[in-house]
Amino acid sequence: MENLKQRKLRTSLTTLGVVIGITAIIGLASLGEGFRIEMKSRMQQGFELDNLTIIPGSLFAGLSPQRFFDSDVQKISEVSGVQTVTQVMQLGNVTLYNGNKTTQAFVATAVNFTEFIKVFPDRFVFDGESPNAYGNDTIIIGYKVNHPNETETTSPFATAHDNVTMTLLVTQQALPFYRLENHTFTTGGVLQERGTPGITNFDYWVFIPLETAREIYKKEESDLIFVRVTDSSQSERVAKDIEAMFPPFRITILIPLTFIRQVDNILSIVQLFLMAVASISLLVAGIGIMNIMTVSVMERTREIGILKAIGAKSRTVLAMFLAEAVLIGLMGGIIGLFTGYGLSYGLAFALTGLIQPQQNTTFQNPETHPLTITPVFSFEWTVAAFVFAILICIIFALYPARKASKLNPVEALRYE
């Protein structure tokens, strides 16, 4: 203790090394955790965790031309954990007319309204009147389809009860193998703006009844199946069960939970990697300790000789030098913990509100809220970093301390 006090500058600089190392590690751990948690919560808010999307074919084995049939839907509905199953037909890009007004829908889709609303309850929310019944000519229009020019305050394309005409591309046997058909529908309602809470954005869609589409297209196949599970935490198990009912590569199931977990894993790996890099600075501090300890031993050779002559054992001398190293580790560790957490809280405060997510990925709450990172105080990391600091100090002090303890007292006493 006495010796450390006397060499204040030297001790301070060595301790500084440890402080920097611990600050870096703790800062990264704390901020990194906070960032991960924020990301995860955003994804959980964003993705509809209760829904599975089933696509025909496999991305790896080539998207299959096979589609889905009622029998498939029936099979899936029998899987335990499945609350609702619904199939949809995708009708492609369409143009709509309402009197002299015209608009385009990116996707026209044919659904079973009752089932569909059960699967997407949060997204099927109406702007203005909502339909009390769905007839076989009902059309539901997405927000952006109804308000194509966001900037101008023009009147919407349609309101409830308006008759709109949709041009559909229908295949035929004779040349040229397709024709354009106009079909009229009655507007059941217009959906509120919702953005992209997952991979789809209903704002750009229009919806017509599945039965009607089947009549128009003269086929009973569907293009997509949506499944709502009763318990989102079971979604992976349910997906596996569904997959087992089909031949391999026949279907692909998109599971939000899996995706979130994968992203979280990646973030976690990145975080650990950064902390490992930060640890390098601690190693450098350790080398610094070895350096000054070696010098210290040399300077105190005579002193060690005296101590041994008085009756100090080798291990007493060893313990003496190691104790000094441990002290440096303790001081550096404690200060480093404070600066580390201080830095992470400070940075989080400074960064909050600075990073805005992109505009087209608004989440379930229509207003965009900026990225807020709350740094995490983790007890495990605190203890681990502290122990790591002390361990590094001991390990790097070991060599010089051992050299000190093994000095021959007679020679040491002669040392000038």
């Binding site: 002559a309 008085i310 100090a312 054992k313 007679v410």
Partner: protein, 234 residues
Amino acid sequence: MAAILGVQGVKKSYRMGRVAVPALCGVSFEVKNGEFLTIFGPSGSGKSTLLHLMGGLDRPDEGKILIDGVDILELSDSTLADLRLNKIGFVFQFFNLLPRLTALKNVELPLAIAGASEGETIERARQTLELVGLKARENHRPAELSGGEQQRVAIARALITNPKIILADEPTGNLDTKTGWEIVQLMKKLNGEKGQTLIVITHDPSIAEAADRIIYLRDGLVERVKEVSRGSQR
């Protein structure tokens, strides 16, 4: 009187590069419990080497060193260290105090190493400093003390564990004549009062004569032994 320390046929050489330089070539004698013995000889006679061996700071190449009947060659380093702590006290020519500690703390050192409690240590250190007449200077660092005062501190440090043997290597070598003489008188007084065996190495004949017995060493061998005619009380 029992022999507290025995030297039997001790030989020791040092390696200087490729040459082995013999320091002791076969030394044998006994030290009686409580006596004041000086080992007298010119520079290079092997006196310091002999002292180091007697104190267990080093081991002989050949022969035996018996302390209280135990051959130190048979002891481990750790046990030897304990021996030095409890049974032996060293006083050196160049004082060998720790420069960053006060006089009091320097004296406390052996007890601190032995693991004694703080309160007990300070008290005993004070008493021992008083014995050597330096109570007033207990908070001074060695740099603030004169040569004579430093040597007194060293003596106090050597005494604090109540060792059976005090080994002094040219204790007056770095002091002026008057101070040197005072130191020797102090040591002799303590020897008389406390009954510790005192072995002093010196090349100063006047100091040698202060002892009970003188061993004359030359070229690594005992030349002769002389009983000083002034009788000692033991």
